[in-house]
Symmetry: C2
Subunit: 481 residues, 2 copies
């Protein structure tokens, strides 16, 4: 079931570049680098297709290098032969960035998983880029550490892809962006030597040159292939509290956020949002009941993580009492145990799935200044009238990140045309971002110019040329030479 995005973007919009075509001697050369068993030329569907099954490429060759040196040798060969390459990490992205558009060679980083070293005093992790996020989490736990990121795809996504896409997720409000945690990167360039560079260091502070490794954070495989990572990990919290608040005023949601920052302070670890429509969808499509008896227009799932359960509970009590006594929230509940907490999180995490029962979903991932966070939902609702089954908004309110979703029974070009580029223009005019965490890839390529100075886009091309002079890395996507 290949859907709209495939039809609209992959087939219609892109034209194959004049890259070389793969020939037998290339395969032989790759086999000499990574071994026969790590060159795949059959049964490539899983690699050619993104996990939403919205994008499909036609690569005939997947390479599975096991060392950074092998990645380097591959890129060197591809540079000289002018072969296009799509770097593929966990392939869990939502914008078609990690699958080929045409016949690009797929370079999978999933076997780059030899080096793993944690410095217990500094909390600095050095590892290869092919480790699964959840696996790193499991390896860190017995040492008293956690990964500073957590996201739905943790069982499949790889840490290198997390860095390359500046992955966000639910720990963002507490531990910050990838820029907060990445200290150094090993990258392989698609230049004449397949240069292997160590950018940055495994140090918290290093002002000994340009901080160019930060350019690779969120670069979506446009500049080089991340082979190794040095990053901060976080001490494991020993106490976690989850609570739910309902209110009918979005202004009060903002006030509650402010109070959470003050009263929960350093233990605040999640501040998630679900509107009433999301809860209705969860009931209708997944038979999940809302957690409060009263229905509220706006719902907040708030979490704390700390090092002392008694202290955290006292802070939470103070915060909840304040919100209820001052009528910021009209109702609220504190999870009494792990089961109750899991139920609250289940509501938030099932939202994406629940929508799919309606038929077709128009997904959006935008950032907005908080004052506009919900306005867009109302605007879109009014714009579509009864043409949509639902217009719902859930997301990471604490980070200004809204997942606005619209459902229809089947794909409707009319609805599509009412939504796009309307939404992207509206968001850009309000100082927001058309992609908060999912990135550009193929899906948002047509809109990348919105809100950007023409000069910024031309500078980006120049930046790409420095690292990837022939433009063979991940063509047709974020930056096209």
């Amino acid at each position: 079931m290949f859907k709209l995005s495939k039809r609209l973007f992959s087939t219609l919009k892109f034209k194959r570049g004049d890259f070389a075509r793969l020939v037998d001697s290339d395969i032989t050369h790759f086999e000499s680098i990574v071994g026969k068993e790590n060159v795949k030329t059959t049964e490539l569907d899983l690699y050619n297709t993104d996990w939403m099954k919205s994008f499909k490429g036609n690569s005939t060759c997947v390479l599975l290098p096991q060392t950074a040196q092998q990645v380097s040798a591959i890129l060197k060969h591809c540079f000289h032969r002018y072969l296009a390459v799509v770097p593929q990490s966990g392939n869990t992205g939502l914008v078609g960035a990690s699958v080929p558009v045409f016949d690009e060679i797929i370079l999978s980083t999933s076997k780059l998983r030899n080096n793993f070293n944690l410095d217990l005093s500094s909390g600095i992790l050095e590892c290869d880029s092919g480790f699964i996020l959840e696996e790193l989490e499991s390896r860190l736990a017995p040492q008293g550490y956690i990964m500073p990121i957590d996201l739905g795809a943790k069982g499949s996504c790889l840490i290198g892809g997390n860095v390359a896409t500046a992955a966000g997720g639910i720990r963002f409000i507490r531990y910050g962006s990838m820029h907060s945690n990445v200290l150094g990167l090993q990258v392989a360039l698609a230049d004449q030597n397949g240069t292997l560079l160590e950018l940055g260091t495994g140090l918290r502070k290093d002002n000994s040159g340009l901080h160019s490794h930060h350019l690779f954070v969120g670069s979506e495989g446009q500049l080089g292939i991340i082979t190794g990572i040095k990053m901060l990990v976080a001490p494991k919290p020993t106490s976690i509290c989850s609570m739910w608040l309902g209110t009918d005023s979005f202004e009060k949601c903002q006030k509650i956020l402010r109070e959470a920052k003050t009263k929960l302070g350093e233990v605040l670890s999640a501040f998630e949002f679900l509107d009433a429509e999301t809860l209705r969808c969860l009931k209708e499509n997944e038979n999940l009941d809302k957690p409060l008896e009263t229905a509220s227009k706006y719902n907040l799932l708030i979490e704390t993580s700390g090092s002392n359960p008694v202290h955290d509970m006292e802070k939470v009590d103070g915060f909840l009492s304040y919100c209820l006594e001052n009528e910021l929230a009209k109702d609220g509940i504190l999870a009494k145990n792990q089961t109750e907490a899991s139920y609250l999180w289940k509501l938030r995490e099932t939202a994406t799935l629940a929508l799919m029962h309606d038929g077709y979903v128009y997904k959006n991932d935008v950032s907005l200044p908080l004052k506009y966070y919900y306005e867009l939902t109302d605007v879109v609702r009014e714009r579509l009238g009864d043409k949509a089954i639902r217009v719902i908004n859930y997301g990471h309110l604490g980070d200004g990140n809204a997942h606005l979703n619209i459902t229809t029974k089947k794909f409707s070009q009319e609805v599509y045309d009412l939504l796009y580029p309307f939404i992207y223009k509206w968001v850009t005019e309000k100082g927001g971002s058309i992609s908060a965490e999912h990135g550009i890839g193929q899906l948002k390529k047509p809109y990348i110019h919105l809100g950007k100075h023409e000069k910024e886009l031309s500078l980006n091309k120049e930046l790409k040329k420095i690292f990837d002079p022939k433009g063979i890395l991940n063509p047709y996507k974020m930056i096209d030479l």
Copy 2:
């Protein structure tokens, strides 16, 4: 009293580039852009000299633009005339990055101080780059926020310079690096249009393109001039505890750090280090007594900042008891009031000043993996024998940042030659950084290649060329075309 660094680096090593010489019509043009009162051509010593009085340039023109548009117009003119420009912020740096080497025009950002806007819900500050750090702190305080950085120069340094130098300081361990907090930058480029770019956004999450604003963090004025900043600020803590621990084992310092991260967890806000020699120097040169009766080889000044005094104190009690009972520390003290806390911080903050009484100070600012953090001090001590008055180490142990200082009565070339490049090579071999927070500027220019791949240095030149095609910004320093 111009000292070594001036003699060694400025005069001896650099040769004036073939930039144009300033003529009267340039001055007239600048006056038409910023007004006569904002073009200074006399009494320029304060602008030509760094605050350590180690570096002195010979500029004959200081420009004080008040808007980003004026900065843009100045850079456009300088581009077309091929006039070199040194961007100057608070001029509090320690490596001679913000003063001219020859006759570069000085572009001071100190009058860029019109826009100031704080979003109370999101805690995102948007402001011009010319605000003094301490002034921002004062403006935020009544709103319940603090700046995420704090450093000794806060009364003079400007926020734009803090970003351009990736300033560290004592809140680093808690709020992270500039990369953690900067969300977007407005920068003026030295290109044919003096292009004014908005890179990034005032949003916590934005994956709508390359994160190129991060390239300007720590770029030392090589790529463009930062005119505006969008950054996260932090909720103001309502409770602060300071404590001091002494131990004779550096391994135990590392264990204490780990325990602090676990037991103080989310409230840990400083983890500073002073060796016994530093305390001896404070006594001999400033008559400041050590805080504990027993002398310890290694001393730790630890601080917590939280939102609940009772909770914080309980955590601190638990942590201190653990360290003493388990003999990680042989002695310790918790400041009972603000006066006692101030005294502990006075010891740490006076260390730099105390050294100067000895005569000449060889200052070092390095990052090291923790296991090597103190070893360098012992190595240097043995290497110099009785040629030095003192070899001392204090710094931000929690960040791996060591300030190794050596004093002699007068500058000694023999000592200098024993120290450099020995220290830089030693640090690089151990995976450390030759500049943790002070940067490169003029002082460390000769050593910038240490530990860097040749390709990284050539890439940096290419990066500079993209933003500053004629290489007129801050020449002779971090990146020289």
